[in-house]
């Protein structure tokens, strides 16, 4: 135990947020540069940490445990396994890109430019606030993935709402943003409060024998504080956690906040919201629902699988019907999250590995989609699909990146999401063939909505209104380029990620007390490596 990697990774952006927030309004430029610097430094730190991670070592590494509120057995306990590590890396990677993308965005507060009053208001409200919130959010995101204490996790899980709430409501776009922000907050808060009951329940139950604790490590396992829980109680507690995560994830039928929130946010906010924040939901299911209440998790498998399938199909169908790009991408995410939960609750190694990988890859692909869509919207000022046509003629680079991002979203082989989606399918099929078949409908629909959207916006004759559309600038290329590169790179060679994920998944499976169905598929990375178009 030498370097407190995780604490540094949390503290750096948190301090950065404080500094940026305290900068005077006139120093907006400095604020942006500072933000970018801090996020890049964090990225470097996280990457360095990732290289120090030993896949063959213990499951949790970089652990730090410091008492926080002894009265409730609460600790500041952080540590990462493979899944959390990758999610942290994802967050650290996406944030600088979002900062770059948001570099020149003007505050869209509905005021007409030129009017003195609103210009004044714009200046007052724009600038450092947004960047400070991004930094704060980054700190919390890293913290929430690193948390090894249920209480700490819960605190950050809830506290994250506030920066996002302001990022949507204060710095979002469109007239609906206020309602969207409130809806987002109330949905999340509602789920969070149910989870609070469950968290308190966990504590009270852990206090049955001796002092209560929130330490994840003390709670799980056969000799953990929650062992021997009576099934009914465990199921209620599971439900408390699960509903909160399902809202966050977002899962049908509690997904309705997402399209509004994503549609009303800045593209950067949407990237973080869908790319990282919602992963907290699925991550929570994997880490907390399954491992704290293994018996209940097994009991709930079928309901969750059904909900996941509904999400997959429903999200895809609604995506097709959308007329707004941002909302469309948001609905595709509902569908994708269905795949992730399906993978998790398939209770097979492949399924869970795929789901974990899916979380990362979905972050890349959706992030890229949102960013490019955001660039387009920033140019033309509208998100409606009907307002665009033939963009590829005016802005080929933009259209190209958009295509790659879209293809990755529909899991084209060779691009990274394919690996994860494939694994989920394999895992699900091993669990039960029917869900796998139904889920495959989602794949077909994905092709439909992505390609159709591309066709409607990018192809065809270029209308005069769009003729002066600029192509991607250097800054924008820097923002979206790394994502495209990562998508392609891991599409071809996903092994490093799987190496990190697999041990964690195996531990989880063991914890839950399930094992793969009898005819095992061999080791997953072999399946993935030979997975180029190969089928069972």
């Amino acid at each position: 135990m030498s370097i407190p990697w995780l604490t540094l990774a949390i503290a750096l952006p948190a301090l950065g947020a404080l500094v940026v927030a305290l900068l005077p309004r006139e120093r907006a430029e400095l604020g942006r540069r500072l933000t970018l610097g801090v996020t890049l430094a964090t990225l470097l730190l996280v990457v360095a940490m990732a290289f120090n991670f030993d896949p063959s070592g213990p499951r949790f590494q970089f652990e730090e445990v410091i008492p926080w509120i002894p009265r409730f057995g609460v600790y500041y306990a952080v540590g990462v396994d493979g899944i959390a590590l990758l999610l942290i890396v994802l967050s650290a990677l996406l944030v600088p890109l979002v900062v770059l993308a948001a570099w020149r965005e003007r505050d869209d507060n509905g005021g007409t430019p030129g009017a003195a009053g609103s210009a004044d208001a714009e200046r007052a409200g724009s600038g450092n606030g947004y960047f400070a919130l991004i930094l704060l959010l980054e700190a919390m995101m890293i913290g929430v993935f690193a948390a090894m204490d249920v209480f700490l996790f819960y605190v950050l899980f809830e506290a994250m709402l506030i920066p996002v709430y302001f990022m949507i409501g204060r710095y979002g776009r469109g007239a609906e943003r206020r309602r969207a922000a409130v809806k987002f907050l109330l949905y999340s808060l509602f789920g969070g409060l149910l989870m609070l009951v469950a968290v308190i329940g966990v504590y009270a139950l852990s206090a049955r024998s001796g002092a209560g604790t929130f330490l994840w490590a003390d709670l799980v396992g056969a000799d953990g504080a929650l062992a021997g829980l009576d099934p009914a109680t465990a199921r209620w507690l599971f439900l408390g956690f699960f509903i909160a995560f399902a809202i966050k994830a977002p899962m049908w039928p509690v997904h309705t906040w997402l399209p509004g929130a994503a549609g009303s946010s800045r593209p950067g906010t949407a990237v973080l919201l869908v790319g990282v924040l919602d992963k907290v939901g699925t991550y929570g299911m994997l880490r907390y629902c399954l491992e704290l209440f293994p018996e209940a998790a097994r009991w709930f498998v079928w309901p969750v699988v059904v909900l996941s399938l509904v999400s997959i199909v429903y999200g895809a169908v609604l995506a097709i019907g959308q007329s707004d790009m941002m909302r469309l991408i948001a609905y595709t995410s509902v569908s994708h999250f269905g795949f992730i939960t399906l993978g998790i609750f398939a209770m097979t190694t492949q399924g869970q590995s795929g789901a974990a990988l899916y979380m990362i890859n979905h972050g890349f692909s959706t992030g890229a989609l949102f960013l490019v869509a955001g660039f387009l919207i920033a140019r033309h000022g509208t998100g409606a699909i009907a307002d665009y046509q033939g963009v590829q003629k005016a802005a080929p680079l933009l259209a190209g990146t958009f295509l790659v991002a879209g293809l990755s979203s529909l899991a084209l082989p060779g691009l990274s999401p394919f690996v994860s989606e494939f694994l989920v399918f394999v895992g699900t099929f091993a669990f039960h063939p029917v869900p796998a078949v139904i889920a495959s409908v989602g794949v077909v629909l994905a092709a439909l909505y992505i390609l159709w959207m591309y066709q409607r916006t990018m192809t065809g004759p270029l209308p005069p209104a769009l003729s002066r559309l600029r192509d991607l600038s250097g800054r924008e290329l820097w923002a979206v380029g790394p994502l495209i590169a990562v998508i392609i790179a891991f599409g071809v060679y996903p092994k490093p990620m799987l190496d990190v994920i697999n041990p964690a998944v195996e531990q989880t499976m063991q914890q839950v007390g399930v094992s793969d169905p009898a005819p095992a598929l061999g080791h997953v990375d072999q399946a993935a490596n030979g997975g180029e178009g190969a089928s069972e």
Partner: protein
């Protein structure tokens, strides 16, 4: 023989021993109040304000220091002491409540003393008829009511005594000493005097009504136990009744119910909450701040002491009642609060909801419940004082009345980000968002309730939290996301005193939210110690009285 005892009442020739050191804070506050009255009588008018403020501030600070010092006077091992013929209990809960009340009182005093162009929040001359020439003359002459200071001191004295009372008589006196000055203070608002007077009348009539119930409840309990001393009542309950009145069970039940009514009224729990919105809205805002923090803390302190010590042996009897009241309070108040359009009314309803949350801890009847309630009250007190401090600054126009209409607060986040940010923080704390004190408080009380097996209550509490979050969030939306209103309110620059109060509120809200450990540790015995007892329902509840180790 009862009659002989009556005829020749035992007048003890042994004068009672009084440990003045343990009563010092009370005596200091009382003495300052009395001196304040003399100051009113003999110090020339122009100098009165300065003298009164200095006197009051010194007294409160001294009382606070003495309260802290008294912690060292307590015997080790969590035991407490009783003073003045066992009428006042000095134990850890007492000291915590008194310390909290004093801090709240100091903060409120700063708001009360805040002056702007020679005007305070109080009427120039309360005796004049609003709108009359006489009133105008007083306003122009710059008259001011410096009586406010002694009145506040007396109210604080009552608040300090209320949770420390160890028998019902002292408690009743403390209740009245606390309430009577507040009734008057409510009617002294400088602006909207009709509102203010109306608030005073309502508060007074309902307050007197409720204290009559309280008193009749005491009479019933006295009839049952033959004494009003909490320890004696506790023992009598344990023994199954007093000798003179076998089968007095109904008396006890009636007594518990009526005493409960009186205390729940002061706390402002549904269905005894109807005074709160009106009074909070009508009273001068600094006084509202005092009531929302100090009075609430004191009332809950008394409630806890009565129900944990005196009625600690009959938890099974009062628990259902508290359940119902807590549920009603959390649900109804939250729903009604959603429709409010005035910030002070909204904060009043929010205070009602919070009372409901604390009641869930009371229901727990355990060490955790006590500690949770104590922490919650302290956290809520700081936050609410800060919130009302912000309210004092938003005016319809420079030098005008406070702008209570929430709609007119639109866009405040743009024009005064710091102020709006502070208020937003307070509102988030009310909503119980993590990393604020409100969250830890909520966690503490809910945890206590769950440990005591009141999980359904906690679920109700959580759902009502979600509803309350809605209206807190609505204000934040208005302030930060909406365009500034046409008739935008004028935001005064916070004076030094108000600024200090807001600053303290912000700091306390954050510190208690992020590092609650030290405070929580001092509130309760080692974690887990009380839990085992609490769960062995219902016989184990005899030990709740030991939480207040004053017996």
């Amino acid at each position: 023989m009862p009659h002989t005892a009556l005829a020749a009442p035992v007048i003890t020739t042994q004068p009672p021993q009084i440990d003045y050191a343990l009563l010092a804070p009370l005596l200091v506050v009382f003495a300052a109040g009395v001196i304040g009255v003399l100051v009113e009588a003999f110090v020339p008018r122009p100098r009165r304000r300065a003298v009164q403020f200095t006197l009051a501030a010194l007294a409160l600070v001294a009382a606070f220091v003495l309260t802290v010092v008294r912690v060292a006077l307590l015997p080790a091992g969590g035991a407490g002491l009783t003073v003045a013929s066992a009428s006042i209990a000095v134990d850890r809960p007492t000291l915590f409540f008194q310390g909290t009340i004093l801090v709240m009182a100091i903060a409120s005093l700063l708001l009360i003393a805040e002056h702007r162009h020679g005007e305070s929040a109080f009427a120039a001359q309360a005796a004049t008829v609003p709108g009359s020439e006489e009133e105008r003359a007083h306003v122009l002459a710059g008259s001011q009511h410096t009586e406010v200071y002694p009145l506040v001191l007396f109210a604080v004295l009552g608040m300090l005594m209320f949770p420390a009372s160890n028998d019902f008589l002292t408690m009743f006196i403390a209740l009245e000493v606390m309430s009577l000055p507040l009734y008057l203070l409510c009617g002294l608002a400088r602006r909207r005097r009709l509102f203010s007077q109306e608030a005073a009348v309502k508060y007074f009539l309902l307050g007197a009504f409720s204290s009559a119930f309280f008193l009749f409840g005491i009479a019933m309990v006295y009839g049952y136990a033959g004494s009003v001393n909490f320890a004696v009542i506790h023992d009598t309950v344990a023994a199954g009744g007093a000798g003179a009145l076998p089968g007095g069970g109904p008396l006890l039940l009636l007594g518990i119910a009526l005493v409960g009514v009186g205390l729940l009224f002061k706390v402002g729990a549904v269905p005894f909450h109807s005074w709160k919105p009106d009074v909070y809205q009508g009273a001068p805002t600094p006084i509202t701040a005092l009531m929302a923090s100090g009075t609430l803390v004191a009332a809950f302190g008394a409630l806890l002491r009565v129900f944990y010590v005196a009625f600690g042996g009959s938890v099974a009897e009062w628990r259902p009642m508290m359940w119902v009241v807590a549920v009603l309070t959390m649900v109804l108040a939250a729903v009604v609060a959603v429709t409010q359009r005035d910030i002070k009314r909204l904060l009043a309803y929010s205070s009602v909801v919070h009372a409901g949350f604390v009641l869930t801890a009371v229901v727990a009847a355990s060490a955790e419940g006590l500690a949770g309630a104590m922490f919650y009250l302290a956290a809520y007190g700081f936050t609410t004082v800060g919130a009302f401090a912000v309210v004092t600054l938003v005016r319809v126009h420079e030098g005008g009345a406070e702008s209570g209409d929430i709609a007119s607060w639109a866009g405040l986040g743009r024009t005064s980000p710091v102020l709006a940010g502070s208020l937003a923080l307070f509102l988030l704390a009310f909503a119980g968002i993590p990393l604020t004190s409100g969250f830890i408080g909520k966690f503490a009380v809910f945890e206590a309730a769950v440990s005591a097996g009141a999980t359904p209550l906690v679920v109700v509490g959580v759902l009502s939290s979600a509803v309350t979050a809605f209206f807190y969030v609505r204000i934040i939306v208005l302030m930060f996301f909406a365009e500034p209103a046409e008739a935008r309110p004028r935001v005064l620059r916070p004076g030094r005193l108000t600024g200090a109060v807001i600053g303290v509120g912000v700091v306390a809200t954050l510190v208690l939210g992020v590092f609650p450990g030290p405070v929580l540790d001092r509130l309760s015995p080692a974690p887990g110690a009380g839990t085992a007892e609490a769960q062995s329902v219902p016989g184990g509840f005899a030990t709740t009285a030991d939480l207040f180790a004053n017996r």
